[in-house]
Amino acid sequence: MSAVAYDAIKPGLSADELLAVLAPLGGVRDAADAWGLTVRVPRERLRDAVLALRDGATTRFDQLLDVAGIDYLSYPDWRGERFAVSYPMKSTVFRHRVTLKVLIDEDDANVPSLHDLYASANWAERECWDQVGIVFTGHPNLKRLLNHHEFVGHPLRKDYPCQKRQKLSVNDPMVDQLEAKLVSLGYTIVEKATASAGSPLTVKEAAK
């Protein structure tokens, strides 16, 4: 983006002013934020907080940059909940950013989905579910995004054995959404993509 376009973005709210917006919705500043404002919000108020930030006349956070899952299992001196979901947000109208963080327990690892508020949340939440195993309630298509469909477990959890090798026995056609999209555009699927069984693997493996 050129400097001229950047200057067209209006000055945004300060950290204190943003906190004042989020405080009625249970927002508390995260003491660990080093590079910008991070606000912890309770799970029940997440959607309200996001809506307030998105639609507020002085906030206008119109971009959800990412949905990041955090596992605090091996975090030094951590006493809180095991998981967190972090939502970095940005405005293209005002020059300000904020990160919302929701802390959740291990045995109740779910947060409400934001797919209807931000289109970018759809795949970001699928990735977060795939890698960290956090359930996004209300998500229309919560299936794996990066790992293959036979994968078991969530590899970015700190207790996942990273040297556990999980072989994929058949091809992953990976075009189910494409087919639905083409049908919605009026095309007819003549032959559906199927997972094809590969031949047995090497002699080395068969001998095991």
Partner: protein
Amino acid sequence: MTYQPVPAAAAAPEVNLGDAFVTTTVDAVVNWGRRNSLWPFPFGTACCAIEFMGMVSSVFDVSRFGAELVRFSPRQADLLIIAGTVTYKQAPVLRRIYDQMLEPKWVISAGACATSGGFYDCYCTVPGIDEIIPVDIYIAGCPPRPEAFLEAIVQLQKKIDHENRRERVTIGGAA
């Protein structure tokens, strides 16, 4: 009629033919043809594939060893060069490409990732493609220089030279 001895030339006619004949074995001729006309299929997934391009291009010029005709259909290739990282999601694709190649076929595993997984000691990377397909020659390096690729081609040629047509077995049971 008096006895006349058979001329020596009739007993051993080759003597009169000089160097018009060469005697050899089928294996030697077949291997000579195979080793000097390897058609590579590059399965390039990472930076090693850039070094492969260097090897094929004019400065290093693999055509000096007869392997410059890069094919992008496995059905037309007899040398599979895996240059780069292979993930578990990609492994069935690699396996299928190998199965689609016709016999005789050889495999070069280029670089640290294809050979052992490299520094990707993680949940998604295959720790060496020999988990998936048989490999003839491994190249060390991250990425290996084009000279190393050429060295691998030469080593493979030596290996092909010693192959016995009757003893050649198909590893992996291609259908």
